[in-house]
């Protein structure tokens, strides 16, 4: 990655630059792999890039950074993703 030698507000892409944002989640997306038809809508629509596309077009969710917005569950045509409330931390 090319770095610029200028003192201004340039940010370079880096995983987790703002910490583990998954801790912000109230509702957690749970994927039912048996229902998934590999249409990849959740992968396209996830605003945080936390739906990972695997080689066989199945998907997995990166819970370290998923904020639980629920868009993936909303766009899923076969209702393979459900939103479940996070268990209270003890």
């Amino acid at each position: 990655m090319k770095k610029y030698n200028v003192v201004t507000t340039i940010s370079y892409p880096k995983k987790g630059a703002m910490g583990k944002t998954g801790t912000w989640r109230v509702f957690k997306p749970i994927l039912d792999k048996a229902k998934c038809v590999k249409c990849l809508r959740c992968w396209i629509y996830c605003p945080e890039g936390t739906v990972t596309r695997n080689k066989d077009d199945t998907v997995s969710i990166d819970y370290d950074y998923c904020k639980g917005c629920g868009i993936c569950a909303n766009v899923c045509k076969v209702k393979a993703i459900t939103m479940e409330r996070e268990a209270k931390k003890k």
Binding site: M1, K2, Y4, V6, V7, T8, T9, S11, Y12, P13
Partner: protein, 385 residues
């Protein structure tokens, strides 16, 4: 080299096109209109090969400049008065983003009441945006400064946008003969633009992200350092220009008959040119008066003004007023002398709203100061108040 006899605006258009910007976004406003018309005409003749964008406002014009400059190309625009004021937010943005945009601003009165004549309150009120500000006093100086401005702005030690100011109508619509170098000479003087950072799909970055207090302060300090660097570079570029083209308009200030002067007059823009006639006449009368025409208001020529203040008493003419205080140049001249010189400084407000300031009035201003009859900050020749 050829001689072109034309108005300040058409000369600025010629200079801008010869600097080969890739993008010129602009919105017309009196008295800048013929500047952008001039560039539009060069699109028709094929002399301007860049992208000319007709935007819907001056705010959009500066946004488009920022977008183009951030994409890594040379960018130019022009505006005036209320147009400049509408850009205000984006002027800060361009400077903080360290984008070397070059812009001409034609100094015009701020309304209401509606008035299209010269007054420097438009650009003076943009003084804290981080832009370098030049004030020109002839069409030749406009041409030379536009070209030099790109070299200055794009230098990695500066990287600040540059605003070239010149008075409405007195320069913008008055024809003068101007020496125009060959395109190749301009190309040799201004090397091809190499951006110091850019938005690039092959090397993705985010610009203008959240920044915490400690880091934000570093950005402001770097702008300040760069402005100090500009103080050194402006004379260097002026010298280089003189060596190649034989023309020189001064560095941060232009000194005129300051040798042995006991009083030095400070003025900017067209009044600065008119003052030379006044100085010649006063010298003929045996009065030891010189002129220091302030070319750059930002960076402010603090050190040079202190040198003048160690030599002579100073007379300042402002074609602007910081309401609630005094003329902006007057304030800053006094600040430059503080605790280091006991020179007397006389301030005059003159020529607001385009009121003519002929050399005869400038002579009277100087004589009033020399005779000790000037008040602290005087509104020269104001009637009915």
């Amino acid at each position: 080299m050829t001689i072109m006899i034309d108005t300040g605006n058409y000369i600025a258009a010629k200079a801008a096109v010869m600097a080969r910007p890739a993008v010129v976004p602009a919105y017309p406003i009196t008295p800048q209109t013929t500047l952008v018309e001039g560039i539009a005409n060069y699109v028709k003749t094929g002399e301007f090969k860049g992208e000319y964008i007709c935007v819907e406002s001056e705010h959009s014009a500066m946004c488009a400049c920022i977008g183009a400059s951030a994409a890594g190309v040379r960018t130019f625009t022009g505006t005036s008065s209320h147009g400049l004021l509408l850009m205000h937010e984006m002027l800060h943005w361009a400077a903080l983003a360290r984008l070397p945009i070059v812009m001409c601003n034609i100094n015009r009165t701020v309304g209401p009441g509606w008035n299209i004549w010269p007054d420097e309150n438009d650009s003076i009120s943009q003084r804290d945006t981080g832009w370098i500000q030049f004030y020109c006093s002839s069409n030749q100086e406009i041409f030379d400064t536009v070209i030099q401005a790109f070299k200055l702005a794009e230098n990695e030690k500066v990287l600040l946008p540059v605003m070239i100011n010149y008075n409405a109508f007195i320069l913008s619509h008055t024809s003068m003969p101007v020496e125009i170098p060959k395109q190749k000479e301009i190309d040799d003087f201004l090397s091809k633009y190499k951006p110091r950072w850019k938005l690039d799909v092959d090397n993705p970055i985010t610009f203008g992200n959240i920044i915490l207090p400690a880091d934000y302060e570093k950005i402001r300090k770097d702008m300040q350092n760069s402005s100090e660097n500009a103080k050194k570079l402006i004379p260097e570029i002026a010298k280089e220009w003189k060596k190649i083209f034989g023309r020189y308009h001064g560095d941060l200030i232009e000194k005129y008959r300051c040798d042995g002067a006991e009083y030095i007059l400070l003025a900017m823009g067209a009044i600065g040119a008119e003052s030379k006639v006044a100085i010649d006449n006063l010298r003929k009368e045996g009065l030891k008066v010189g002129l220091a025409r302030v070319r750059t208001f930002r960076p402010f020529p603090k050190e040079e003004i202190l040198k003048l203040g160690k030599q002579a008493d100073l007379i300042v003419i402002d074609r602007n007023i910081s309401v609630g205080s005094e003329g902006a140049l007057f304030s800053e001249v006094k600040a430059a002398l503080y605790d280091k010189s006991d020179a007397k400084v006389y301030g005059f407000i003159a020529g607001l709203g385009g009121k003519d300031v002929p050399y005869t009035d400038i002579e009277k201003i100087c004589k009033k100061s020399i005779n000790g009859k000037a008040k602290d900050c005087e509104w020269y020749n104001l009637e009915g108040v």
